[in-house]
Every structure is written in C-alpha cells, then in structure tokens.
C-alpha cells in the first residue's frame, strides 16, 4: 500500500490509484451502505471521497492514517447526503442500520453447526447498531481500537466498552452450546 501511495503522490500514477481503489473500495462501500441503505448513494459517497483523494494526491503525505482518513471521509459524505435529503432529522450513528456481520464460508466445516451459526447470527442481529458497527469494523475490516475511535469520533474507552458488550452478548448466546465442551 505504501508503494501505491508513493506512486500516486509522486508519479500521478493512475494505474496505482486504480489498484489502491480496488483494494480499499469494497469495505468502504459496505460502510457507506450502513448509512445510506442503497447501492447508488453508497457508491456515490465512496467515489466522491476517492475523487477528492486523487485531487489532493500531492499532499498525501500529510494524511496520518489513510484507512482512517477514508472511513472518516466516507462517513462525513454519507451523513451530509442524509442531512441534505432530510434536513429535519439529524443522522445519528445509533439510527444507522448496520449490515450483518459475516461468518466465513468454511466456518461450518471448521467447528460450527448450522444451529450454532444461526444462534450467533441472531445474537449479532440483536446487538445495538453502534455496537454492531464497532464489532464489524474490528472483526471484519481488521481495524484497531484507536482507528475505530478515530473513525466514529468516540473515545477508545467507548470502543472498548462496546466491544465488550458485543462479546458478552455473543458469549451468552453461545451458552446453550457449551455444556458438551465443559463436561
């Protein structure tokens, strides 16, 4: 990624920009989808951010953490779109419907029975939106506490607390499946 960014900044390399886009676009798109619900506006929001990134490519080195930067920019763009669409209702993270967390395809063979997978999926579905969003960003997108805190503009302590809530609820939903492993 470093090399791609270097090529973009110093060589105006569109090929590198394309590769960078292909690497980063999809998780950002899913993130935007959580706010905007629909394909087209979500794609617009992400593309808007990338076009602006290209326009400011010569100052890329000023960006501290590019992934955090992209997520934050997508969030702002999405929220602005929502505000413009509905000026009377402030968009707020807690009202955002976050897509479900994804369990990997091989999970079933690895250790999960179908029943168990359903139980976890249900537990994830029941997480409060903000909590689920944090869980997704950490577990699916591989972001750290600090990064998530920066993206959602909350304190790392809150991220910590929310993630613990998520784990506690998931752990509770696993209880019925645990007897055989303990005895």
């Amino acid at each position: 990624m470093k090399e791609l960014l270097h090529r973009i900044q110093f060589h105006d390399d569109q090929q590198a920009f394309k590769a960078f886009y292909q690497q980063q676009m999809f998780p950002l798109y899913r993130f935007a989808l959580a706010f905007l619900k629909q394909h087209q506006p979500a794609e617009e929001a992400v593309n808007d951010v990338f076009v602006k990134l290209w326009q400011r490519r010569h100052t890329l080195h000023e960006i501290d953490n590019i992934r955090v930067y992209l997520y934050v920019a997508v969030k702002h763009t999405a929220l602005n779109q929502l505000r413009a669409a509905n000026p009377f209702e402030e968009a707020d993270l807690d009202n955002v419907q976050v897509p479900l967390v994804r369990f990997c395809a091989g999970a079933e063979q690895r250790l999960l029975t179908h029943e168990l997978q359903n139980a976890i999926a249900a537990a994830v579905r029941l997480l409060p939106p903000k909590c689920r969003m944090i869980f997704k960003l950490v577990k699916e997108d591989g972001l750290s506490y600090k990064e998530v805190a920066g993206i959602l503009n909350i304190s790392p302590k809150t991220v910590d607390a929310q993630l613990m809530i998520a784990l506690r609820k998931l752990s509770a939903s696993l209880q019925p499946f645990l007897h055989h492993t303990t005895v």
Binding site: P41, A84, G106, E140, D160, L163
Partner: protein
C-alpha cells in the same frame, strides 16, 4: 469476575490494544476455561465480506470517467461528480420519507447491490467439474475461473468466465442463462456449449454441441450471431482492440465455422479437454504449447522461433508431458529438455 476479565482481554486483543502481558494472561485464562476458548474460535470465523467485483468494477469505471473529464477542465474538477449525485440525493430523500426502520432494511437487502459472489477456479494442471445452484453442470479447464451470484437471484442467470469452460445448461424458459467474458456475452435457455476466452489468447471461441445459443460481441452489441449445433464462432482479437475501445469494431473480426471433424465421431475436439484429452487439429505449435502449458502446468519456451509456426494435429489421452512431447516428435523434428517446470524446445 473472571469471565468479565476474559471478555475484556478478548476485546482488547481483537482491537489490537492488548499488550504482551495481557495476551499471556488471556492465553492462561483460556487454557483454564475451554468455554471461552470456544467463543474465541467462533469469533475467529468472522471475516471480511467477499468483495463484490461488479460493484468495484462499476465504481471504478465512473471514477475513471471523472478523472478524464477533470484532466481536461482543471479549473472545475468537481462538477461532474456533483451534478451526477444530485438526482440520487432526491431519490434517497424520497426513500427516507416513505420507509422507516426495518422495512427499509429489508428493501436494501433485496437490492442486487451486494450479491453473494461465488467463485470457482481450476488451478493449472487440473480441471474441475461443478454443479451450479440451478442444476447447470460446468467443467472448468485448467487455469480458468467462473464467478456468479450464489443464489442466481436476478432476472437472468449470469456467469462470468475467464479461460475455458464447458456448460451443460439446465433448461429454464423464464430465466435466460448468460455467460459473460471480456469480449462476449452468450445467451441461452438450455443447451451445452464450450467457451474459450483466455485473457492472454489472441482469439475467443464459442462452440455449440447441442441446442442454440446467441452470441453478442461486447464492443458491437448490435451484432448478434445465432449458433446452431456443431457450429462455432471464432473471434479474433488483436492488441488494438484492447487499447482503443472507442473504435474497436473494425479491429474485431469473427467467423462462424463447423466444428472440426475427427475420425472418431464420438470425439469433439473442442471439448476433449473435459475427459483429460488434449486434442488439436491443424493448429500451430504455439497454440498447442499454450494448451500444454495449462494441461501440464509447465512453462514452454521456444528457443527456435520457427518451431512456433509448425502445424500440428493429434490427440493425447492422459499422457504426461514427456510422453506428449515424444509423440509430437514423431511428426515434427525438434529437441526438448525439461528443467523443473520449464520445457525448452529447439531444432
């Protein structure tokens, strides 16, 4: 109390905030509490969603268009994005007004925006047979790949192909089956046919075994060709096609021909690969070499360029690369040596 501590440490580990001492403490606690080890294993199965390549590709096409416009009009680079977005803002507004809460979520889920994309690839040196959710059977040749929406949820059953794939399509009059390659779209209702569209080849081929297919060329959609059994379409692609997409029609040439006949009526040259046979008739050594590279997972190097133009015919059955080369030597004079996966050909 202990449970809380485990959860706290697991959360810190997931968020990459745990220090070395904390990780050790967690390991210790997990060893004592298999229940939580189990929880951690379960959480390990959470992974990033599979990238929907169509979304990324379409998104990039739009960006590319904007980059080109902004290169021409540097003083107002953002205009195209803004104007393009406005209608969607209103669309978003309309949706927001009408729907609240769960109903909207359900609608968003039904959108084809993020279909579960299924991908099957055959590695070099082996072919794969697979069954698609609609009952269609596919044989995927070495070094080839297909991808499709795992649920076939759309109005048509769309499958993307790179390389060579044989389809035996399950009939469904209500849902056309469409195969997409870089340069072709092939539409059928129920039939069997072979598609060959390797990215590094100079030509693409569609050969029909049973039924009827309609082929459209990506760069000139007005040209539709209907193929009948034992017919094949050969599309020649020169390098220019790929570079100048705008006026590529002149550069793409195609012809429809009968399938090559062979002495064995049961053998169709074009689909022999499905039975681990390597068949070719009146093809250049260069073309045959490419087939052999895929079939045997080797790299073939022509040390003598004139060899490439030799015309060869033959059928190999389950031979290894050595045997195959020796058979070829019977009709054409050449020497070969094999060093690891590299085959060197010389006069």
């Amino acid at each position: 109390m202990k449970a809380e501590r485990i959860l706290e440490l697991m959360a810190r580990k997931a968020g990459r905030a745990a220090g070395k001492a904390e990780l050790e403490e967690l390991e210790q606690l997990l060893a004592e509490n298999p229940d939580y080890r189990f929880l951690e294993n379960v959480l390990d199965t959470v992974e990033a969603p599979v990238q929907d390549t169509a979304v990324v590709r379409d998104g990039w096409e739009k960006i590319e268009a904007v980059l080109q416009t902004s290169a021409q009009t540097p003083e107002k680079p953002e205009t195209p994005v803004m104007s393009a977005r406005r209608p969607f803002r209103w669309a978003a507004a309309a949706v927001l007004l009408v729907v609240a809460g769960t109903g909207m979520w359900r609608m968003a889920r039904k959108k084809p925006a993020a279909p579960a994309l299924q991908q099957i690839s055959a590695p070099m040196g082996s072919t794969i047979k697979a069954l698609l959710p609609d009952g269609t059977q596919v044989w995927i040749n070495a070094g080839s790949q297909i991808s499709y929406d795992a649920r076939f949820a759309g109005k048509s059953r769309d499958v993307n192909v790179t390389g060579e794939v044989f389809f035996d399509v399950a009939a469904d009059d209500n849902k056309p089956f469409i195969v997409h390659s870089d340069n072709l779209a092939i539409q059928v209702l129920g039939t069997s046919f072979n598609v060959k569209a390797y990215g590094d080849d100079q030509k693409a081929e569609v050969a029909v075994i049973t039924g009827k297919v309609q082929v459209m060329m990506r760069n000139s959609p007005e040209k539709k060709v209907v193929l009948l059994p034992r017919e094949k379409l050969v599309l020649s692609l020169d390098q220019q096609t790929i570079i100048h997409e705008d006026d590529s029609i002149q550069h793409v040439s195609f012809r429809v021909q009968e399938l090559a006949s062979s002495k064995d009526p049961g053998l169709v040259m074009e689909t022999a690969w499905r039975h681990q046979k390597l068949a070719f008739m009146n093809e250049t050594f260069a073309e045959v070499a490419r087939k052999m590279e895929r079939q045997f997972n080797v790299n073939i190097v022509f040390e003598d360029e004139t060899l490439k133009k030799e015309i060869l015919s033959g059928v190999f059955e389950k031979e290894d690369v050595n045997k195959a080369l020796r058979l070829l030597q019977m009709t054409t004079g050449f020497h070969y040596r094999i060093v690891q996966q590299q085959v060197y050909l010389s006069r």
